[in-house]
């Protein structure tokens, strides 16, 4: 956020443009124009909304977050599909719940604004959906790519951690790393050769040559070109990604600063849901969000405290079943903990802004407590580690001084 806003606004269109190009290159249909996406920040309209909904539905379908059977169930109802898909990815916004309720009341109408959908798109991008799409597309295009064999990564409980097996493990890891490097250099060479072939085929425009080339070669060539375009689009996107997130921050700010009354026009029938007692679903969600950081903290603390990391990891660290609150989100994408923590921390605050006081305070208190606890815990650990380091240093120093003291009496004659 150091960059000045004016500089960002100049770039925004280009940045969004490169995102659109990348999305289109990953094979998504009906990607909105950059201008549409930019306008979504300020509300847009019905047509913008439907475009966005379609895009989100396409992404969710393509990445397999919503299974094809589920798609049939929704019978083309994009709204339901998007809401369900976002819930699956761990995005719990109020409008996702608003739908069910209103349908129960038999109300039709706009359930969510295009800004909500834009934020949801941001969430999907931040959770690595883009990379998933990219990987899928690359695997589609690059027929020579080795598909990874699903390996059983579970560590058995009987694993012995004596020094011999540890050394063997280190050796095997080293060996794998070397093999990886050999494969990587082979990949580099192949890329070079492909480039040589591609540039040769581009430069040779003689009809006799192109006549001889079979359809398979042509197809290959087209695929390769698509692959190159895709990777180029990704590289371009990566270059400007930072600016995009700066802009996305501004969208979030804009969303938060909006007066509640104005927002309620986008989300009609808000008032009955504000009362927590009157809406058990919302209450449940709120509880869930408040508990979420606790669960994560417990999980992390567990990994830190334990001495026997290898064993413990199988029990707590990576096993989603140990998190009763997360089990409903089976395909939670892997992303950096810090980012996830930040977004989740924001959620209760955002929600609390349009709920009654009691809940508001409760949410805030819980949130603050979590953050301060976490900070304290980190500080404590740091202090412990520093102390341990200093002790170790001291011990080493004394040992060395003793040794040197013993040797000081020796007279050394250089050879």
């Amino acid at each position: 956020m150091q960059r000045s806003k004016s500089a960002v606004s100049v770039e925004v269109k280009q940045v969004i443009g490169s995102l659109c190009k990348l999305l289109a290159a990953t094979g998504l249909e009906a990607v909105p124009t950059p201008e549409t996406i930019r306008r979504a920040k300020f509300g847009g309209g019905v047509e913008v909304e439907s475009l966005f909904r379609q895009l989100l539905a396409n992404i969710l379908k393509k990445t397999g977050i919503v299974s094809s059977e589920a798609c049939v169930q929704f019978k083309g109802d994009d709204r339901k599909l998007v809401a369900a898909g976002l819930w699956q990815t761990g995005y719990h916004a109020h409008w996702i719940y608003a739908r069910e309720e209103r349908e129960g009341e038999g109300m039709e109408g706009r359930s969510f604004s295009s800004k909500d959908l834009l934020l949801a798109l941001g969430w999907l991008l931040a959770t690595g959906t883009l990379e998933n799409l990219l990987t899928q597309r690359v695997q589609q295009l690059d027929k020579t790519l080795l598909t990874s064999i699903p390996a059983n990564t579970e560590v058995s409980d009987e694993l012995q951690l004596d020094s011999a097996s540890l050394r063997k493990l280190q050796w095997l890891i080293g060996n794998l790393r070397h093999q990886g490097r050999i494969l990587l250099s082979m990949l580099e060479e192949r890329t070079q050769l492909i480039h040589a072939v591609c540039s040769a085929s581009v430069s040779s425009t003689t009809p006799s040559f192109s006549d001889q080339s079979s359809t398979v070669l042509k197809d290959d060539c087209i695929r390769m070109r698509q692959l190159c375009d895709l990777l180029e689009a990704y590289v371009n996107w990566k270059k400007v990604e930072k600016s995009f997130w700066t802009w996305m921050d501004s969208v979030v700010e804009c969303h938060l600063s909006e007066p509640v009354g104005k927002r309620s026009t986008h989300v009609p029938n808000v008032s009955p849901r504000v009362c927590p007692n009157g809406n058990p679903e919302l209450q449940k969600l709120e509880d869930m969000l408040l508990k979420l950081p606790t669960a994560q903290k417990g999980q992390r603390g567990c990994v830190w405290d334990t001495k026997d990391i290898g064993k413990e990891r199988t029990h707590s660290g990576l096993d989603p079943s140990s998190l009763p609150l997360l089990f409903s989100v089976p395909s939670l994408p892997s992303l950096s903990q810090t980012y996830r923590a930040r977004l989740q921390a924001e959620m209760p605050v955002r929600h609390s802004s349009y709920h009654i006081e009691g809940l508001d305070e409760r949410a805030k208190a819980a949130d603050e407590l979590q953050a301060s606890q976490a900070a304290q815990m980190l500080l404590q650990t740091e202090a412990q580690l520093l102390e341990r380091r200093d002790r170790q240093r001291m011990a080493n120093k004394v040992l060395l001084q003793e040794m040197i003291g013993r040797l000081d009496e020796l007279v050394l004659i250089p050879p």
Binding site: A164, K168, L172
Partner: protein, 436 residues
């Protein structure tokens, strides 16, 4: 797949020149086209005039040795060094590791990196980088360590092999043990594997096997080059399916040095004899292999002809040289008849690796450097433990009385740096000691 060699200091430049000489003449004499082509692709490229140009960068702080090496190469008429692929200045490092590492290295970093980059760009595919240097002096060891560090930064995913020449124990330079300790400790973090030749061993080979009366550095370097060449020339590996392996450094490192605590590799080659005697000698594979196995077990890096029989020497007893991993390279006639089962004996190896992981075999039916049959063993074993221990102990004794330390501190190497280096080498020694 090509290897870019970086020759550093007097020793590195002399050994490098001999190595390219051996490789070039061996590849030219090779009866098989694919062998020659593979070897040339690995170590040479052709310039506009069609001359073979070594894929090498020559670096020294004094111009004398570089000029000599370049002249020698050009005189051979078979190959040459690139016109612009060398760097030297007028002032040496004065046998001071700190001077090389802290002053000369950083000062000339950009020039050297540019030279290496240009050489790497000439390769269709880079198999790895090989830095050649001694550990005793100032330029090879100090600048060499610094440059290896730069190479690691520039090519984080490439294989980097360091070839080191260890000094005579009796001493070439008064601070050679300081320089050696600092070099080894630093390279252990940077390099993928460290291939070592000891001057003492090579000297003994020259005097006892090659019957050279007045042994010069050139003789010593020729022996080193012969052994190195035999490791680096093309060969068939177990899974290369009749095609010469294209990634010599990668294959070497992944066969021998996968564990970060064990990176020291020793080399020995048999037979070695005066070139006049080669024509009148015959060898059999069983004889050579038995001999090599005994050399491995008893840790003698030179064939001496007198070995205790295996019965008197228990495999677990004192003086037994335990291996972590071995790479056996056979070159010559009837290579496919050679029976190498003796090297797969699990008793030779540490208990925590199976012999399939510990033993690797390369073969090539092409005669190497005029020898009808030749066996080379690259071993990651306790073989270098004793010389390393001596080196560290001598350096520590000097350090305890702070002898010459001010020469290092004035260039920015603190006593703490020394202590760090001692610690990390003690760790290496202890790791090799515990190999059982």
């Amino acid at each position: 797949m090509s290897v870019v060699t970086v020759q550093l200091g007097q020793c590195g430049n002399q050994v490098g020149q001999e190595l390219f000489d051996v490789i070039c003449s061996d590849a030219e004499e090779g009866q098989k086209k694919t062998y020659s082509a593979g070897s040339f692709e690995r170590f040479f490229h052709q310039n506009a005039h069609g001359d073979l140009v070594a894929r090498a960068v020559l670096i020294d702080m004094e111009p004398k040795v570089i000029n000599q090496s370049m002249t020698k190469a050009a005189k051979s008429g078979k190959w040459r060094y690139g016109e612009a692929s060398h760097f030297s200045q007028s002032q040496g490092s004065g046998n001071n590791w700190a001077n090389g590492y802290c002053v000369h290295g950083p000062r000339n970093r950009d020039v050297v990196e540019e030279l290496v980059r240009r050489e790497v760009e000439c390769c269709d595919r880079l198999a790895g980088l090989m830095a050649m240097m001694s550990v005793a002096g100032g330029t090879g060891s100090g600048v060499g360590t610094y440059i290896t560090q730069c190479l690691r930064d520039l090519h984080p995913k490439s294989f980097i092999l360091n070839h080191l020449t260890w000094p005579y124990r009796t001493g070439e330079v008064i601070v050679q043990n300081y320089n050696s300790v600092l070099t080894l400790a630093h390279l252990y973090q940077l390099s993928d594997a460290i291939l070592v030749h000891e001057n003492d061993t090579v000297h003994k080979i020259c005097s006892q096997l090659l019957n050279i009366k007045q042994i010069s550095f050139s003789d010593v370097n020729k022996v080193i080059a012969h052994q190195l060449g035999s490791v680096l020339q093309p060969a068939f590996t177990a899974d290369s399916h009749g095609v010469y392996s294209r990634n010599p450094l990668g294959e070497l490192v992944s066969a021998l040095a996968c564990h970060p605590e064990y990176k020291l590799l020793s080399v020995c080659t048999i037979p070695q004899m005066p070139s006049s005697s080669i024509a009148y000698s015959t060898f059999s594979w069983p004889g050579l292999l038995k001999h090599m196995r005994q050399m491995l077990i008893s840790n003698s890096k030179m064939e001496e002809g007198k070995f205790c029989s295996e019965r008197t020497r228990s495999l677990t007893g004192f003086g037994f040289n335990r291996s972590l991993a071995n790479l056996l390279i056979l070159r010559g006639k009837d290579v496919y008849c050679a029976e190498t089962g003796g090297f797969e004996d699990p008793d030779l190896y540490t208990s925590w690796l199976s012999s399939e992981e510990s033993f690797t075999l390369w073969k090539s039916p092409v005669l190497f450097n005029k020898y009808e049959k030749s066996v080379t063993l690259v071993s990651n074993s306790q073989a270098l433990l004793r010389p390393l221990d001596n080196m560290v102990r001598s350096a520590w004794n000097m350090f305890a009385s702070r002898a010459y330390v001010h020469q290092y501190t004035k260039f920015g190497i603190s006593e703490e740096d020394f202590l760090d280096s001692f610690t990390s080498l003690e760790q290496v020694i202890s790791s090799y000691n515990q190999l059982c």
